[in-house]
Symmetry: C2
């Protein structure tokens, strides 16, 4: 048995750095041109071909429907992505928080909708300050919020567009009915520095209804509710310039609803395990996807976002441990999938191709460890486990809070690093 | 029904910022001297009195047992806290990842143990580079890791202390038995730039066994396993200078085990909802805590870490919505508690006093929203809900990944902001 080690007890015992000059710094996570296999891990990786096809598909669908696309930047928090969306025709972006909007404003995005209520004078003031430089809109569901926005806009000598949030069944924020919406619209219109912009009507729960027909039905009911209130407001002399809402799970129905003038999907850029479990949303994965049907018949998106991880321990029997855990992924919507990249033949040789592994499963997450086990085949045969040091790619269960953990998004094309995009709005939840 | 809005389709339609000079920047989350009620939210708040008592209690317990305290910095990721721990007598810190250690090294912490295996040449190289400035140790559970460390230390002309990780029942990383440990110890000792430091024996699962007696029993079995292997190594001529392990849930038993020369608890600094649910760990909360028994009889810790949040919507019936959701807290170990601060009479007027609310519950988290509902009393009476704009404090379910979401820790004493500490290692998982 080893003897207990002596314990220092005074501040004077603090060890002192040898040669404090020339301390090492953290090397960049990757360099352009580097093969994907050598990216330091954990890393958040974007497969650029799949990403660009996702952007294109959503924009084309919105254009065909004559509905404005205002993608939600809470999903990516990345100005490079916002500019890629706007270059393709997006009218602006949504942010969920006031502080989140700042890096986008700085990058030149001049039309930002805060798709949320705000509380506290600091936030209203910052918003009104931003409105001196760009078109800023925000939601309300209470009179006191209208007053706070009016005061801040007056103080900053700027103008804010204010939308009334309508609860279309989610039971979170938003007024309950047309009477309440009209009262708020009138209060907004009465303020010289505010203008009534219309309605926000978003139902988060619908996005994750797995069955396609059930999701269509739920989206139709929600849109009807929004449409009826918009009609009441118009009849009462408060027409809605904008009815905004919809997410990546409901957008195919929202575009066709005739109610929404604007959609605000976010996750379609990436897809994630949760959206990949919806019937008829993923273009790849377990259900076959794009190459098993006609691309024209459905609005589907590809998995473009992955966590690159490395096998760091193989000491225990029947499992391996990877270096990506709770600090490298959000697990609120389930543990990540393991992704099997195509060898190149499938999907026209596009690097983004692949599918959810049926041979390996990520079964538990600790802070900085993930446990990966083999999944027995139909005949009971046990697949081989990856080797120590081998790279694996994971599909996170929920993309938004996963992006919020990383500072850099590593863009990969044809198996090589192409871009390093800062996730500038990471951590900006105020 | 509003008419669909025209959709821009060309890059030339990108809106342009009005007056791009003088764009607003994000104000600091708080200023020293500011009352706690006006901290912008969501914010991560540390009640300094409770925090300092936690540090003191753990150090005194380690000193009494003659065991070294090497707190785990993965819990706080904050150099100011590491220095506060070392000033009180900690021998150094643990980090879970190589990159995580860098901000601590930069702050002057000159004795850092990486309590984990590492994979890939980039990490070994960075570690060997760090070892030119400080005492650095790391774990292995495979020969290939020993080789990679030896090569990196040779290339950097530095020396690394290497511990063999032993699996004492967790089934994650670590060799299974004394034979495997001895083989690795010999491989380490054979490398001129590596020195065999001893054993790491950590069992994460034990930390969360709720029942006090069951936790004691599990900790004893795990320590026995570590002790037996250490004895075998000593008998074979490879004595362990250090046997390191133990966490905030098992530390009272580990200190008394006679096996561990060093403990590496992390969460005791803060406590969280998960540890607060362990019998006999929290000094406050539902079970009465310190003031209902003798402080001397048990090693207990106070809740010092809170998420300050604000009620942002009260539009829906029977609930309120707060501005802290999945991006402001980790939910892997459950949703946060709502904290009822003492009015001042209890706990000697110490501001850190309070308990888990029995009247309000945080029942659901979205990305940036939390739903708070009243909990009916025993007689069925329904407690009042907080008002729009009212501040609330939450206790996160799991402190480590929650700290990893924030850039600043706001220190509060006597109801006023005292310190703003950067969480410098946030996001450093490589």
């Amino acid at each position: 048995m080893p003897a207990p080690r002596a314990v220092p007890s005074a501040p004077s015992d603090l060890p002192v750095l040898r040669d404090p000059a020339g301390l090492p710094t953290l090397p960049p996570i990757a360099e352009p041109g580097q093969p994907w296999q050598t990216i330091d891990t954990p890393a958040l990786v974007l497969v650029l071909d799949a990403f660009e096809r996702n952007l294109q598909r959503m924009q084309q669908a919105a254009d065909r429907a004559g509905v404005a696309l205002r993608p939600h930047a809470k999903a990516h928090k990345c100005p490079d992505i916002a500019l890629a969306q706007m270059t393709r025709g997006a009218v602006g972006i949504c942010c969920q928080k006031v502080s989140e909007a700042l890096p986008f404003l700085r990058a030149g995005v001049a039309d930002i909708h805060i798709s949320n209520e705000i509380a506290g004078p600091a936030k209203a003031m910052l918003l009104a300050r931003m409105a001196r430089h760009a078109r800023i809109s925000v939601c309300v569901d209470a009179v006191v919020q209208v007053r706070a926005l009016a005061e801040a806009a007056e103080r900053e000598q700027s103008g804010l567009t204010v939308l009334v949030e309508l609860d279309i069944g989610q039971g979170r924020c938003g007024v309950a009915d047309a009477d309440a919406a009209l009262r708020l619209a009138e209060r907004i219109a009465a303020q010289p520095r505010l203008s009534f912009g219309g309605l926000q009507a978003y139902h988060g729960g619908i996005q994750h209804v797995r069955d396609h027909a059930a999701r269509r039905e739920a989206a139709a009911r929600a849109a009807e509710r929004a449409g009826a209130v918009a009609a009441r407001l118009a009849a009462a002399g408060a027409p809605c310039q904008v009815v905004t809402g919809g997410g990546s799970g409901s957008v195919e129905f929202d575009l066709a609803s005739g109610v929404f003038t604007e959609i605000q999907p976010g996750s379609y850029v990436f897809m994630d395990g949760d959206y990949g479990s919806n019937e008829g949303v993923a273009a790849s994965g377990l259900d076959g996807g794009m190459d098993s049907g006609s691309a024209a018949e459905a609005l589907r998106f590809e998995h473009s976002l992955f966590i690159a991880t490395t096998v760091m321990s193989t000491a225990a029997h029947g499992q391996v441990v990877v270096d990506a855990g709770l600090k490298s992924m959000a697990v609120d919507s389930g543990l990540p999938w393991i992704w099997e990249r195509d060898s190149g033949e499938r999907a026209g040789g596009q690097f983004g191709g692949g599918r959810r592994s049926t041979r390996l499963a990520y079964v538990a997450a600790n802070d900085e460890h993930g446990i990966v086990r083999p999944v027995p085949g139909a005949g009971g045969e046990m697949p081989a486990l990856p080797q120590l040091g081998e790279p694996l790619w994971l599909v996170p269960g929920h993309c938004d809070p996963t992006l919020n953990l990383y500072d850099t998004l590593v863009g990969v094309r044809d198996g090589k690093v192409e871009s390093l995009w800062p996730i500038s709005a990471r951590g900006l939840s105020r």
